[in-house]
């Protein structure tokens, strides 16, 4: 059985955020998942943008989300650029959060056999430099 890398030993850089995505990354310092929410339509969006994808207006709020959801799709990366190069294979999952957005993340404590579309997952916050964290997923058990 091929073992799959949980990516925790890969040194990653601090986030490169933009003026409008800074609140997301600030939230990760406290392991909080903050998503943009458009109160005019009652919907979340991801990734963070400077405008509502629904209305073109900027009346967006930041709301804390659970980070729980189900695998929408996934791939096994067999090739990567540094610092992932030489650490393959690893999962990249697209997870549909319960809040109704798709978020990409790596997987921790998830075997090739565990992985399937529909798998319930929860957040696993992994430390980045400068106090930030990256959202990784792990199966709900």
């Amino acid at each position: 059985m091929t073992t799959i890398n949980d990516t925790l030993d890969i040194p990653r850089e601090a986030p490169k955020f933009r003026s409008f995505s800074k609140p997301f990354w600030d939230g990760t310092r406290e392991k909080k998942l903050l998503l943009q929410f458009d109160p005019a339509v009652g919907k979340f969006q991801f990734y963070p943008r400077a405008t509502s994808i629904y209305t073109g207006r900027r009346n967006l709020e930041w709301r804390e989300a659970s980070g729980c959801g189900a695998v929408h799709s996934f791939t096994i990366a067999r090739r990567g650029r540094p610092p992932f190069q030489g650490k393959e294979p690893f999962f990249i999952a697209v997870v549909t959060l319960d809040e109704g957005v798709n978020v990409m993340g790596n997987m921790v404590d998830c075997s090739m056999e565990d992985m399937k579309i529909g798998l319930r997952v929860k957040p696993y916050w992994h430390a980045l430099p400068d106090g930030y964290h990256i959202l990784i997923f792990t199966p709900e058990r």
């Binding site: 986030p15 979340f44 629904y54 799709s73 990366a77 090739r79 690893f90 109704g100 798709n102 993340g105």
Partner: protein, 390 residues
Amino acid sequence: MALHDAAIVGYAETKIVPKSDRDVWELGAEILENVLDRTGFEKGEIDGLILSSSMTGSGNCFWSQTTADQLALEVDFCQTVDIGGCSPVGALARAAAAIDAGLCTTVLCLYADTQSAETNQRQRHFQGEWTVPVGLMGPPAAFGFITNRYEHQFGLDYAMLGKLAVAQRDHAVLNDNACEKLRKPITIDDYVNSRMIADPVRLLDSVMVCDGASGLLVTSRKNAERKGLTKIVTPVGYGERTTYRASEAIVDVTESGHMVAGQRAFAQAGMKPAEIASFHPYDDFIIAMMIQMEMLGFCGHGQGCDFIRERDFTFRGDLPLNTGGGQISAGQCGLAGGGTNLIEAVRQLFGEGGPRQVANTRNALVTGIGGIPYARNWNSSVVMILTPNG
């Protein structure tokens, strides 16, 4: 827009090679010379220049005017089209629009990129913030998501994807311009057993980045007639859609903007999918062609494998597919790669397909795919229907 008032009077294409030792402008000069030779036009008659995107040119935000200067083309209309792999087909549509609007009369559409030898891209995009940190390495992973999702929703017979790969490879063997490394026949077993790149995307699903150039000379139909040019190809239907379903948080990645772009192109051409004589879809990954078959209405959504099983995609078959080998088997000339299948369609309609000439040249359908967004399908979709019209 009176699309059909534009006429393609000539085409040209360089050999596709890995790591070209010739400069991108030298490739451009070869295209210019070849279209002048084959059409009898003088350089001074070209009054429009439209370039595709180019990884080599991407470090220069004056790309189209710099290239006009390098080639000494004095023009009244000059632009670069930057919708990724859709750019070459999009450039042809923009040439027709510019000619129809009276902005210029004769346009060189030039698609030149030496990405494997010299890439100058430094993109401002979402990836640095959102996908580089998870190790996502470009299009193969994105197509891994699409393929797994497709299999989950509809089931997937990989041998049918292999059937498309084999047909294209057989065509590349007959195409002297195809990258030599790829001109060896493959079998469906070779396809299925090729190594995984981003599961379930395999090596033989994927394009190999190469260098090369191609181009079209487009003029007004009236000018073509005045000059007595009888061999012309005319765009008769076009559709384009960028950021399909941008206002939705979650989209079905087994759908694409080709659905709406295709409906527009077919309506404008007054045609139906069953009337298409040869099919030249953009092929960065094999499954992209199957999804386009579904979106364009050759078959129903989710029925691509059954459709592929029933049809013959060789140049002698009932739906010839990318008869030059497509980008996957001829090599992908960076962002100029969208020109490869377009030029092949024009070549076929000119009756110049040589050992791979299709019998039915009533029309050809060409498409483009451009850009990979975050957890979606692809950014831009274009569909162009061409007819010969002497």
